[in-house]
């Protein structure tokens, strides 16, 4: 099971930590606020009160085994830089850092952050996309425990038709659409992948390795299908 570390439990960090914990992941949270740590300790695997801006503090924890660290301390660039550097030096495989500006993104990339996110901007883009074009999905909750998600075609059913894969009977979920990326050349003669969305696909449609499926169903069944 993957181990996650969340550094800084503000609104963003807390949301990440709680969502991961609710999905059954092992999550460690570090934050300097005692009350926040106490509240989160009820939900996540471990919550530790610590001042991460103290250079020695992180070093005293054994964090090298963490698979993913999420640094949610935007607003204090110096602290975010310091923490990111330390985590990479410790051997954390993937460090995701929250940033506010493009300049911060550039600096964080340079020092080795694997992924930089702009939560506010990204949420705005996602909302806008869902308003103007229903072709981009991550996860949309329809009702508690029930949602729509886009996911890769699991290896075990690649090359099969929808009829052969028999997804509804076998997994209890429905295919809403196939998001297909077709190879082509752009106007400059360079390789490009063109996205098309096949809504309510025919049963004869073959599932390719470049296809994503837009599925609807219970969260637990979606998770099971994704892990095939």
């Amino acid at each position: 099971m993957k181990q996650y570390l969340v550094v800084g439990a503000g609104r963003f960090g807390s949301a990440v930590a709680v969502t991961l914990a609710r999905k059954g992941a092992q999550v460690m949270v570090l934050d300097k606020d005692e009350q926040t740590v106490q509240q989160l300790s009820e939900i996540v695997t471990e919550a530790i009160q610590i001042d991460v801006t103290d250079p020695g503090a992180l070093g005293r924890l054994d964090l090298g085994e963490m698979d993913v660290a999420v640094v949610g301390i935007a607003g204090d660039l110096e602290a975010a830089l310091l923490v990111t550097l330390q985590l990479k030096e410790m051997g954390v495989k993937t460090v995701v850092v929250k940033a506010k500006t493009r300049a911060e993104k550039k600096i964080l990339s340079r020092i080795g952050a694997d992924r930089i996110v702009f939560p506010e901007r990204d949420m705005g883009i996602r909302v806008a996309n869902s308003l103007v074009s229903p072709t981009i999905f991550d996860y949309i909750q329809v009702s508690p425990g029930f949602g729509i998600m886009e996911t890769k075609v699991p290896k075990s059913i690649r090359g099969q038709t929808l009829r052969e894969a028999d997804i509804r009977a076998r997994f209890g979920i429905d295919i809403v659409a196939i998001h297909r990326k077709a190879p082509q050349l752009d106007k400059n003669g360079q390789s490009e992948l063109k996205s098309t969305l096949l809504i309510a696909p025919e049963a004869t449609e073959v599932l390719g390795e470049n296809d994503n499926l837009v599925i609807i169903g219970e969260e637990s069944k979606i998770e099971k299908f994704k892990s095939l």
């Binding site: 360079q190 490009e192 992948l193 470049n210």
Partner: protein, 105 residues
């Protein structure tokens, strides 16, 4: 049927060109694109790799290989290659766009 023959003829022709001029990155590029367009990403990747041994800093080879890796869902590999293109040409707009697309949430 005729499409298959056409593909085979073109493939053979480009392979012969590569044999005749193994130092010319253009032929690797054309053969790689032929495989890419026929969704044979593994073969396209193989050809681009051979081409990059000859011309390691050839931007077109790097870019088309990176998109092929994206098609293979090897996003980490694709990301590394787009970064490499940008280290050669920081103004490579297509590489920038692809990189942003695969690294942003």
């Amino acid at each position: 049927m005729s499409n298959i023959r056409f593909f085979a003829r073109k493939e053979k022709k480009l392979r012969e060109k590569i044999e005749r001029a193994p130092q010319d990155p253009e032929n690797y590029l054309r053969l790689g694109k032929l495989y890419f367009l026929n969704s044979d990403y593994a073969k396209a990747a193989e050809v681009y790799e051979r081409g990059l041994k000859v011309s390691p800093r050839e931007k077109s080879l790097l870019f088309n290989y990176a998109v092929t890796r994206e098609a293979q869902q090897d996003l980490e590999g694709a990301k590394e290659m787009f970064l490499e293109i940008l280290s050669i040409d920081p103004n490579h707009q297509a590489a920038q766009e692809h990189l942003e697309k695969i690294t942003d949430f």
